[in-house]
Symmetry: C2
């Protein structure tokens, strides 16, 4: 595990060293470390790059780390990770991704994560993305998340992209069975000439299923963001999507949330608001002695917290 990977791991997974318990660290397209635990078994795929993560039903609150790092230019990493979460399991999956560029060539990570939650499984999925390094090459992260939630299962997805990622195209798709519940919290900040696209599609197929999706984003500099969400209610279900965006400098934000009620018993709502930081908020903080820049950054920190 090289020094840049260590630095990236600290940023995306809050790890100072290899973690206790189960983990798989991916470095420049290869495995830099892997460990199983009593309840969580990780095996490499034989037909394509990636791993299978089997989480058994006795897992209770355990964390498993699946970070991926690209440490130099001219790497295009593609990985398929499948998570099989057994009935009754309760697990926290930490799956950050860091991309470092030192040259003119781009460094790119494409991660395709699939989740199969059995009855009553409980998953918290944390995904933090960052780009670092002084190279001029593009830092690109394109994650895809596919989730199938069986009866009564629960998945919470927390994704954060704070800085340094020049281009991202995120796709999240989920299908929910009876009484399953999906909570998505997305935070994105873009700056410079960055591009970020985020698309969600959630199908509420089972009675009593529910999805709650909230995206907070900040577009600074000349960056551009597109947010798409699609919630499809096919039965008695509830869906909520919310997109709040702050635009600064010359940032551009595009929000396209879509609702489809295919059943009279589907109850779907969405809200979106795009605007700059309210003047009165700035003035209030400036009255307390902060400069305008400090006040701005305080407000943004709170918004993305």
């Amino acid at each position: 595990m090289n020094e840049i990977t260590k630095q990236l791991l600290g940023l995306v997974s809050d790890l100072q060293d290899v973690p206790q318990g189960a983990y798989n660290i991916r470095e420049d397209g290869a495995c830099a470390g892997r460990q199983n635990s009593e309840h969580i078994k990780i095996t490499p795929k034989t037909d394509k790059p990636g791993i299978d993560i089997h989480i058994d039903g006795s897992t209770k609150g355990e964390k498993v780390y699946i970070p991926a790092c690209v440490t130099h230019s001219n790497v295009e990493d593609l990985v398929y990770n499948d998570f099989y979460v057994a009935a009754g399991a309760d697990v926290i999956i930490v799956a950050g991704c860091g991309v470092h560029t030192d040259g003119e060539e781009e460094s790119k990570h494409n991660g395709i994560h699939r989740f199969f939650l059995e009855k009553g499984a409980h998953v918290v999925y944390l995904e933090k993305h960052i780009g670092i390094g002084s190279g001029t090459g593009q830092r690109i992260i394109n994650p895809q998340t596919w989730a199938e939630l069986a009866e009564g299962s629960y998945m919470e997805m927390n994704t954060t992209q704070i800085k340094g990622v020049d281009s991202t195209s995120r796709l999240t798709k989920a299908k929910l069975d009876k009484d399953a519940r999906m909570v998505i919290r997305e935070k994105i900040m873009t700056h410079g000439n960055q591009l970020a696209e985020s698309a969600f599609e959630v199908e509420l197929n089972g009675e009593g299923s529910g999805a709650d999706l909230v995206s907070h984003s900040v577009a600074r500099g000349h960056s551009q963001q597109t947010f798409r969400s699609r919630i499809i209610g096919n039965t008695v279900c509830t869906g909520h999507s919310e997109c709040d965006a702050i635009v600064m400098d010359h940032g551009v934000v595009h929000a396209i949330p879509e609702l489809t009620a295919n059943s009279v018993d589907a109850s779907l709502i969405h809200e979106a608001a795009i605007g700059k930081i309210a003047g009165e908020q700035l003035i209030k903080l400036m009255t307390l002695g902060l400069t305008e820049k400090e006040a701005e950054s305080k407000i943004i920190d709170g918004f993305l917290k």
Copy 2:
């Protein structure tokens, strides 16, 4: 003017007879009556079907009626009406459309209305659509509305499609200059196997411009509705779009409101909610002695009022 036109006029324009003041009545693709007033002049186009309506700057609160009726099957009517509203004018335009079918062939009205509002012009535009008759042919109304609002002008658009229209595809586009304001209120109820598509695109180009769009719709039977709105903020401006839909029986509603902030000073919001009538509302009215059907229709009447 035949008897069916008279009946349709009553339904779409609340007219019992030809109105006072300026009007143009279109019947099965031809003119069934036309009258100018002191301030409003209507002239037929020479290059294509339709009329030019010139509203001078001294018009103060005057109504002009531009209804169109299709009274039998196998008519496909296409009309281009252009409204030139002079600086300072204040006018109410009543432009309903009624379609009657007596046979197996469809009857169809496509109306393309363009509005050119000069500085400070004030327009209220009322558009009511209805389909009647016992024929099995489709009753189709596809209206397009294009509006250009100069500095400080105001346009309010009230559209209502209550029943009998088997298929509609509505398109409304507007461009707003400095301090111009556009208010759109749409009401649609569909039943049977009806299809309704409604798309709005509003560009807020001038400083201080604003758009406020509210759509209320009810989808009953096996009807399907699609609502699209797009608000594009290119400067200091405010945009609001709201789509509330009630689904009943096997109705399907699809809402896709889109916001684009191309300026840091654009403040844009939207909301949407799709669901069935709340149980507690029904129960409350039933406690007061109404049957379930009566309670339902009371709630829907209120929602579409």
